[in-house]
């Protein structure tokens, strides 16, 4: 994964998906929580490439930086949900705006990491990313996050 990220070799990166889902990497998926997140990241990047969006792994030349980006984004999402203080939320908003993610990443991360967000959370995210997400992106985001 390190080499694929360094070389921006998306073909190699996407080969990891079946490797984790069904191949030799499945054992790690079953027993190592971190693998679940890595698979989630791969799904995100795959979707982003399909829709010609800036991939989540942009500016991440190693597994370490990619992991850091995922976790810091997740922490920021949680701070928005839990609203410990004004400063906590401000720091989260600042981070998210400085390190924008796609609407696919926002949706998949919120769902996959069981943040159990409410409508307010999704609307807050859309507001934070007003400058980053296009109109079609926002519509798709709200369609994906619409309660069943």
């Amino acid at each position: 994964m390190d080499n694929a990220l360094k070389d921006q070799d998306y073909a190699s990166l996407f080969q990891l998906i079946p490797y984790i889902e069904e191949g030799n990497g499945h054992l790690a998926f079953q027993y190592v929580g971190k693998t679940h997140r890595f698979l989630r990241i791969l799904y995100i990047i795959e979707l982003e490439k399909k829709y010609a969006l800036i991939p989540f792994c942009d500016n991440c030349s190693s597994v370490h930086t990619l992991w850091e980006k995922y976790m810091l984004t997740l922490f920021a999402f949680r701070r928005l949900c839990f609203q410990l203080s004004g400063q906590s939320v401000e720091e989260a908003v600042s981070y998210l705006q400085s390190h924008p993610v796609s609407h696919f990443a926002a949706h998949i991360m919120a769902q996959g990491d069981l943040i159990i967000p409410d409508r307010d959370f999704y609307e807050t995210l859309a507001l934070i990313y007003t400058q980053t997400w296009g109109v079609a992106d926002r519509e798709q985001f709200f369609a994906m996050t619409k309660p069943a």
Binding site: M71, R78, R79, L84, S88
Partner: protein
């Protein structure tokens, strides 16, 4: 023993997680008349050994042991814990009943 002190003991090996864990701890409401101290256990031979070393290093009456990936959401947990201990007789069963009621 300091009866008005909480020691929060964190076992950690990841700075990213530890920093976020501490962010939530920093937002805890500290009951009036009480204070807190934080211990971060790193590079312990095992988690239990790490916790034991910190336990012995602190004179706090109340010791809270958490891992680096625990983020305490309830800002009033320290007050809640004091209420639990005050309401229940000082025996394990009473405390457990209260916690899960």
């Amino acid at each position: 023993m300091d009866n008005h002190k909480f020691a929060i003991i964190i076992c950690a090996n990841d700075d990213l997680l530890l920093k976020e864990c501490r962010h939530y701890i920093d937002h805890l409401v500290i009951p009036e008349g009480y204070n807190t101290e934080l211990f971060t256990v790193r590079e312990a031979a095992s988690m239990t050994r790490g916790y034991n070393e910190a336990m012995l290093a602190s004179d706090a009456k109340y010791k809270i042991y958490i891992h680096q990936d625990v983020f305490i959401l309830n800002r009033y947990i320290l007050e809640d814990l004091l209420s639990v201990f005050a309401a229940s007789p000082p025996n394990r069963n009473g405390w457990l009943r209260k916690c899960f009621s």
